[in-house]
Symmetry: C2
Subunit: 360 residues, 2 copies
């Protein structure tokens, strides 16, 4: 693969995103320099192979600011001063405030185009950096009339080199979108998980996948998220207030389930949830190819899964997805195989012929 | 495997749970009869192999009532009349009201012990029935002074035969527990997903795993959940009100992020979420064995995954978990392998030696 990115890329901030960007770009031959306010973090990222230190003679073509949202605007302004030939972007999760500051304060602000890769993990830091972090994920490029086409192109080349899908939006559009699809779920997951702090051990013992999935992102870094949600509070508050109104209405109905109209309020809330989730694109949503799923029970010993998949592969059947779970305390391994619907019968016939234990 | 369950089991209601119970028990030689208010549903479950029709000469040992919560109490009362030698249980998600009705109205109510398998799917119906549904999941047995030991034992044998882990609780303890770990997440997921109904297509295009996971259960059946949450409203309302208070406080803080104390309110909400999620047992929670995860990129063609797993199996390395995702629109398959931490180095060395593309 030849890099679309030309020239040296300098990454400011070698945490999860900075390290992940460096790791991938170096693999396709891009010259990467790194800096970080913490010498230890910088050394770690360099040891990991994410890039090298900056040298005085370097001629940087693109600067990527990967620092926490609070510090991003200042680092972008500094970068525009320090690297006079470079395009500058940042990857912070909230874009309007940074854009305003940069357009107002920087003389050559046309060299700045903000961006936001929709990727991350619950755990941050260089240690968790990984080159696949951006693959197949949207990468928002913030376009406005002040941004130069050549600068937009350089940022877009970076995103494409990292395997992301680029999406152009204004800062306002972006911030409204993430308030809904990212920041609101984060806060509600945190508030829901907070209800568990004083829960009985025996109640928690009944937890299933529903609770785990609805609260998973509550494990995210509070310091980072404090910066994100306070920077985007203006757009978050109306959504949360709307949610609050719906919740208040639902609580009233549940408070008197026998009252006229109560059941229809509860039913409407549940049905509206069905409608909402159907609008989410992607594999769990309504707009995706839906796969047929076949569950197989396998012995929990080395080689069994391989034997299963070898037989599937030998038959020329392509798996679209696969998930494996060791049932807690049980000796059985359950493998859920997903295939295109037209392949389901063929898969089931194969598995039966080969004496695999089918579940269902 | 020899069944712990002795004698004939009669299942009333051949939907998801009834069919799944029948499928498993028949495999270990238990005589299963089925009935359903819908002849078509009954025929489907019988065709699936979940059991046979009831005969007049049958001597039923255990009746399992698997009908929607609204109908459960009546069906239990009927079953106690119709099957004078049988223990009777039900699998409804809310237990107090059914127990009260049965203890009050049935003469031989000592033959009834309620239960609740903590298992289900977003999709109901016999078509989605599967014998692995209960494996490794908690199965709550509702004990009170009126329940006979022999009856408790028969219900427990059933749960164990289905691979579940039995947990004894009072009806009140059970209903409080599920209000928190199951019914509250369901309602909040529905309300969150409802916010997406009017969202811009472009905003939804930025959805990631966070939104998908927090809303997944919003796809559940509204009719069933209407019955569940209204039957347990008394225990749900205080939890939802507590959540509402936390939300109101958070919204006020976000409304004026610059005011004294606002940031600490937001930070506290996020940190409390961290504490709460750490209390959830299981693989995503804090009390489980934590695995080391290694991500490998593989070509998206038949046999590649099998080759990877064969090599891992040949090396005697046991995978604890595995997940595979085809990045949307990309040619790369990402496989996340989980192993015990002490095996991580061995796995990485093996993969490098065999020239697999490691991510990270």
């Amino acid at each position: 693969m030849t890099a679309r990115t030309k020239g040296q890329v300098h990454i400011i901030g070698s945490g999860l995103l900075g390290t992940s960007i460096g790791l991938t770009l170096r693999k396709i031959g891009v010259d990467i320099s790194l800096e970080d306010s913490s010498p230890a973090t910088l050394k770690l990222a360099i040891d990991f192979g994410a890039g090298r230190e900056l040298r005085p003679e370097d001629d940087v073509s693109l600067v990527v600011v990967c620092v926490p949202p609070d510090a991003a605007a200042d680092k972008v302004l500094e970068a525009l001063e320090r690297f006079p030939n470079a395009a500058v972007t940042d990857v912070a999760s909230v874009k309007s405030a940074i854009l305003e500051t940069v357009r107002e304060k920087a003389e050559e602000s046309f060299r700045y185009v903000g961006s936001h890769p929709m990727a991350g993990r619950e755990k941050g830091g260089a240690l968790n950096g990984r080159p696949d972090l951006f693959v197949g994920r949207p990468w928002v490029i913030i376009t406005d009339e002040a941004a130069e086409t050549e600068v937009i192109n350089r940022v877009e080349a970076l995103a494409l080199d990292l395997g992301a899908t680029t999406v152009r939006m204004s800062a306002a559009e972006h911030d409204s979108a993430v308030a809904l699809v990212s920041h609101t779920p984060q806060l509600l997951a945190s508030l829901l998980a907070a209800r568990l702090v004083d829960a009985d051990e025996s109640a928690l013992g009944l937890s299933g996948a529903g609770l785990r999935d609805t609260t998973r992102i509550a494990a995210s870094d509070p310091t980072l998220w404090l910066q994100i949600v306070s920077a985007n509070s203006e757009r978050l508050v109306p959504i949360l207030k709307h949610f609050e109104q719906d919740l208040t209405k639902l609580i009233s109905a549940l408070d008197e389930p026998g009252a006229t109209g109560s059941l229809s309020v509860i039913a409407a809330a549940l049905s509206k949830g069905n409608l909402g989730i159907a609008r989410i694109p992607g594999k769990h949503g309504g707009n995706s190819t839906s796969y047929a799923r076949v569950t197989v029970m396998i012995d929990d010993k080395p080689g069994e899964l391989a034997r299963l998949l070898t037989e599937i592969g030998d038959a020329g059947i392509n798996l679209e997805d696969l998930s494996l779970d060791h049932a807690s305390g049980a000796w059985i391994g359950l493998v859920e195989l997903s295939v295109l619907p037209e392949t389901e019968t063929e898969l089931i016939q194969l598995l039966s012929k080969k004496n695999w234990k089918l579940a269902g």
